[in-house]
């Protein structure tokens, strides 16, 4: 989708602000969001592409104003509600409880003993490489990216659509996010590192002597000549 998350080449955000001696977490709730994300991922409640697409569907103004882990919270909550892992009513009830008791621990409303944990797959976000099929392109081949505007999840950035590049290398066959984010299966296909000259991407406005490498799935690409 042409969402607010697709930031490459946008202007107006100002200079990069660095924080000296930045702590690992700015507050304990940020670590709780990381723990929730990892638990949800490793226990198979959502895959990495569903997680990302959950974040991409935030309201644009909220996305730009939210901190990083607030984005995670918003995306994860959306996906868990959609999948029925948590119900809207029970979440609203729990939210009312904590709005009244902002300092209560997460275990405060629990009355029954905790159930045993499901098995986890700790490599969930790395487990994307599948056995190879034939590859359409080889290193050095010219390619043209498709000029498409899919309504769902895609990892073809807007700034690189309809652009000419050259295959740098193939990374093997990877799960395809555009289907994997929508319950349409892994549909694995070759993933390539594609090199684009900055002039192809940014035209007359390009800075000199600059190239961008983007990792793109085979179905994003057409033969370039």
């Amino acid at each position: 989708m042409n969402g607010v998350h697709d930031l490459g080449g946008m202007q107006g955000f100002g200079p990069v602000e660095r924080e000296e001696n930045e702590p690992v977490f700015h507050a304990a709730w940020e670590a709780a969001v990381v723990a929730i994300q990892q638990a949800g991922g490793t226990r198979g409640l959502f895959n990495i592409d569903e997680f990302r697409h959950g974040i991409e569907r935030m309201a644009p103004a909220h996305y730009l104003g939210a901190t990083y882990y607030e984005k995670w919270l918003d995306g994860i909550t959306r996906v868990l509600l959609e999948k029925g892992v948590v119900g809207a009513a029970e979440l609203a009830e729990r939210l009312a409880f904590f709005a009244e008791r902002p300092d209560a621990p997460a275990s405060a409303p629990l009355t029954a003993p905790l159930p045993p944990r499901a098995p986890a797959n700790p490599k969930w976000a790395q487990d994307v490489i599948r056995a190879g099929g034939p590859q359409r392109f080889a290193a050095g081949d010219p390619v043209l990216t498709r000029d498409v505007h899919p309504r769902g999840h895609t990892r073809l950035p807007r700034y690189a659509r309809g652009k000419r590049g050259v295959i740098h290398r193939c990374h093997g066959v990877h799960v395809f996010p555009d289907t994997h984010a929508h319950g349409e299966g892994e549909q694995p296909q070759p993933l390539y590192s594609v090199r684009f000259d900055a002039r192809e991407l940014w035209g007359e406005s390009a800075e000199g002597n600059h190239a961008v490498h983007i990792d793109l799935w085979e179905s994003y690409l057409l033969p370039g000549s």
Binding site: E17, A32, R94, A106, A108
Partner: protein
């Protein structure tokens, strides 16, 4: 805290607690999961594995070749099995820079958690379109004769820069080099500086 950290609505904290509590109750979240995350990232934080691999590459040409050609095998020397990393080498003609324009993909296992600026729109939007101006503002002037090669981490592959070894470090061994190698140099927004001369 600046605009990287707009004031967080207290309601956000309630939302986290509510979800955390439901997932605890359903057996999805372990009771010690949050403490383990804090322990893991606060104790093992920083670019330790990445810095060690770079220091070894600077002192052992065979290891450097392995790190560039087969990073997974190279990282196993540091007890890390990480299949998704690509290592890109800074040279006289090329300076590399890593970004994720679509989200904030970052090689956590070798660099620790990303800094906030890496995840904010200013960096993500500009790194691909005006990297030379961006790096200049961040304090790194890249010679116009050097190509800036930006790696947009749009898939599950992750990128780490192998910086150039600074002059003045010729006699130094791997252990002495490690502390010089910063996270920012491994992202490509800084170069590695030689150690400051000792005060006599």
């Amino acid at each position: 805290m600046g605009k990287n950290h707009p004031n967080v609505d207290p309601y956000v904290v309630s939302r986290v607690r509510a979800l955390e509590s439901l997932l605890l109750e359903k057996g999805i979240l372990a009771p010690d999961a949050v403490d383990r995350v804090i322990q893991r990232y606060e104790a093992d934080t920083g670019p330790m594995v990445g810095a060690r691999a770079v220091a070894r590459a600077w002192t052992d040409p065979d290891y450097k070749r392995l790190l560039l050609d087969d990073p997974r095998t190279a990282l196993k020397r540091f007890e890390l099995d990480y299949a998704m990393l690509m290592v890109v080498e800074n040279t006289e003609p090329v300076h590399n820079l890593v970004v994720c324009t679509l989200c904030s993909c970052y090689p956590w296992p070798v660099l620790g958690l990303p800094p906030t600026w890496y995840k904010m729109p200013a960096y993500r939007s500009r790194a691909v379109s005006e990297p030379r101006a961006l790096l200049g503002e961040m304090g790194l002037a890249v010679d116009p004769r050097r190509e800036i090669r930006v790696w947009d981490s749009s898939a599950e592959m992750r990128y780490m820069v192998l910086p150039q070894r600074p002059s003045g470090t010729e006699g130094m061994g791997e252990d002495a080099l490690v502390p010089l190698i910063t996270r920012d140099a491994l992202i490509g927004v800084a170069e590695v500086r030689p150690p400051a001369p000792a005060i006599r």
